[in-house]
Amino acid sequence: MFESLSEKLDSIFKKLKSRGLLKEEDVDVALKEIRLALLEADVNFRVVKDFIQHVRDRAVGKEVLESLSPGQQVVKIVYEKLCELLGATNTKIQLSPNPPTVIMMVGLHGSGKTTTSAKLARLFKKEGRKPMLVAADLQRPAAIDQLSYLGKQIDIPVFYSKEIKDPVILCESALKQARLEGRDIVIFDTAGRLHIAEDLMDELSRIKAKVNPKEILLVADAMTGQDAVNMSKSFNEKIGIDGIILTKMDGDARGGAALSIRSVTGKPIKFIGTGEKIDMLEPFYPDRIANRILCMGDVLTLIEQAQQSFDQKEAEKLHKRIIEESFSFEDLRDHLKKIRSMGPLENILGMIPGMNKAIKDIKVDEKEFVKIEAIINSMTPEERNNYNIINGSRRRRISIGSGTTVTDVNRLIKQYLEMKKMMKMFKGSGKKGFRLPRFGF
């Protein structure tokens, strides 16, 4: 549905052969498209307006890099500015010098507060702390049940009461209980609000006054549209927030709300929720969101990300192994791991020019990776380094060990051999720098 921004810009700039400094007209043509892209990504209109102005100021008169077209140059500036505005990766949650540290989760109906509260508690538990969850959402039917169920799942105590009807009183007793039990983190899951409901905002303020939270985290749905601005502004002005958690990032929303919320509140985005499962809470990386907002099929980014994931030495090592034709299953496994660490595969493929269109209809199944990894893990070190010894009975053993079928194992070996063949061809080209081999799936 969305044509890649750089594709669009490339076609606009095709006529322009000019090099040297970016001209005002060039920039304006590009910015018109970028404005539309940002609006389509749900970045708030006012935020877009400011943003475009900033970029314009920065871009006009800038030298176009040798290797880039004027359009790509503008995109690069936009991308850098976006990352800058989205802030740094910052997942630190301030801890109180006198435990317990009180964290209050706030947000609209259905943004994912309850699930996120549990996810956060789990992270703290993993760090060796003793969190407690508080079911302070007395409004939504069954919210208490939901939190206590999640609490059981991760083995973290949940404070709730079906008798206390006043959430402020409930929160006070919860805090007392936490002190009594020596809990060092208390997470309050408050009721969902439509922020126009003044009385409910008032309830949050009263809870805040009583429990004195160290951090108030706003939980926001990544699919939110233009209203993200009003919503986050209200919460920030009336309650005051310290950070943001963006949920439902596993969908395909382009997440322009991230930029809107960040611009309006100036508060850091700390985590993103990437799935329904309890362990799916990840640190926020501005570059990934910037990519997503721009829907950029931009090879620049691919290169940048590739450089981050593969450090130069390792790349050289791998290159050497390719030249020596000793690229083993073990190398393949490491290689795949690194690629996966760069983000969802669809996004990565999307960064390869021209690929964005091609993969629109292809569903890249991340499970395929898991399968491949499992198969390689089920091989002996010997097998990994010498595929020749993997005979029929070994293949059967590997398939049983990895929970796959012999056909899967055969397919992987075939793909591996094809890759090796391709690598031989690379070897001849002798190009400088490291190139990503293509995979056969």
Binding site: L39, P141, A142, I196, T224, Q226, K248
Partner: protein, 301 residues
């Protein structure tokens, strides 16, 4: 309070943002290109979407250039007509054919499916229908309990299995039970799912397949519940859910917030699915038939 007034009150925030901004743009101004651009921006900030906005604006621009629109009132009435036109005719949720009438509700997480079902059940019961609710959201913690509360509140029957069981089996049992008991309406709750999760979309397909084993024409209505605060992603949701199970109508929830719900224009325009119901408050009777004319009128008056 009459229905229209209630709608107006529910949309007060929407109205305030939208109409007042259009009016302030038009105040003491000749209608020129920059005015038109500003109106475009108002449309976009209402989540109406770039495509639908552009279309409205282009035709406004033509009319202004041709001189057939000059004043602020003319712009106002033009927008009203265009926007009503985009939404099409009133297409409310009506039951038809043999009983039971089966409604399957689907949508992404957190849009208000269960609440919408509760309100729908209350409405059908007050109209003299018997209702079975099917707790086919067997995934989310406490979803069954939440539906149980609604069943108790409205007097509907509830068919449920254990948490974690097969949702298609729950749906099948509910439809079978409705047939056996001569119940009028079955409303099936499903787990919220992001449309990007192909395995979960397959699960939905399975639910509809299994329902058809009991009643070949069911579910007669497949309702996609959409949160009014959602941005352009709602179009993707409508598209992909539609591809999977064939959406017949949309329920737009949370319209009592500051969100303008302009996304329904984009959905109607790009996918052509009618909006059947809108949620304009937290009360049990705050689920209303969507009337495009009233909706646009309430925006402008």
């Amino acid at each position: 309070m009459g229905l229209f007034d209630k709608l107006k009150a529910g949309l007060a925030k929407t109205r305030k943002n939208f109409v007042e901004r259009v009016e302030s743009i038009l105040l003491n101004k000749v209608v020129d290109d920059s005015t038109i651009e500003e109106i475009e921006e108002v449309l976009i900030t209402s989540d109406i979407g770039a495509k639908a906005s552009t279309e409205i604006i282009n035709s406004l621009r033509q009319k202004v250039r041709a001189g057939s629109i000059k004043s602020a009132e003319e712009v106002n009435s033009f927008l009203k007509t265009e926007m009503t036109g985009l939404l099409g005719k009133l297409q409310p949720l009506v039951t038809f054919g043999e009983r039971p009438f089966v409604i399957l509700t689907v949508g992404v997480n957190g849009v208000g499916k269960t609440t919408t079902i509760g309100k729908l059940a209350s409405r059908f019961i007050s109209e003299g229908n018997s209702v079975i609710l099917a707790a086919a959201d067997t995934f989310r913690a406490a979803a069954i309990e939440q539906l149980q509360i609604w069943a108790n509140r409205t007097g509907a029957d509830l068919i449920k299995h254990q948490s974690g069981s097969d949702p298609a089996a729950v749906a099948f049992d509910a439809v079978e039970a409705a047939k056996a008991r001569g119940v009028d309406v079955v409303i099936i709750d499903t787990a919220g799912r992001l449309h990007t999760k192909s395995s979960l979309m397959e699960e939905l397909k399975k639910i509809t397949r299994v329902i058809k084993k009991s009643i070949p024409d069911a579910p007669q209505e497949i309702l996609l519940v959409v949160d009014a605060t959602t941005g352009q992603n709602a179009i993707r949701q409508a598209m992909i859910f539609s591809e999977a199970v064939g959406i017949t109508g949309i329920a737009l929830t949370k319209l009592d917030g500051t969100a303008k719900g302009g996304i329904i224009f984009a959905i109607k325009k790009e996918i052509g699915i009618p909006v059947r119901l809108i949620g304009i408050g937290e009360g049990i009777d705050d689920l209303k038939d969507f009337n495009p004319e009233d909706f646009v009128k309430a925006l402008f008056e």
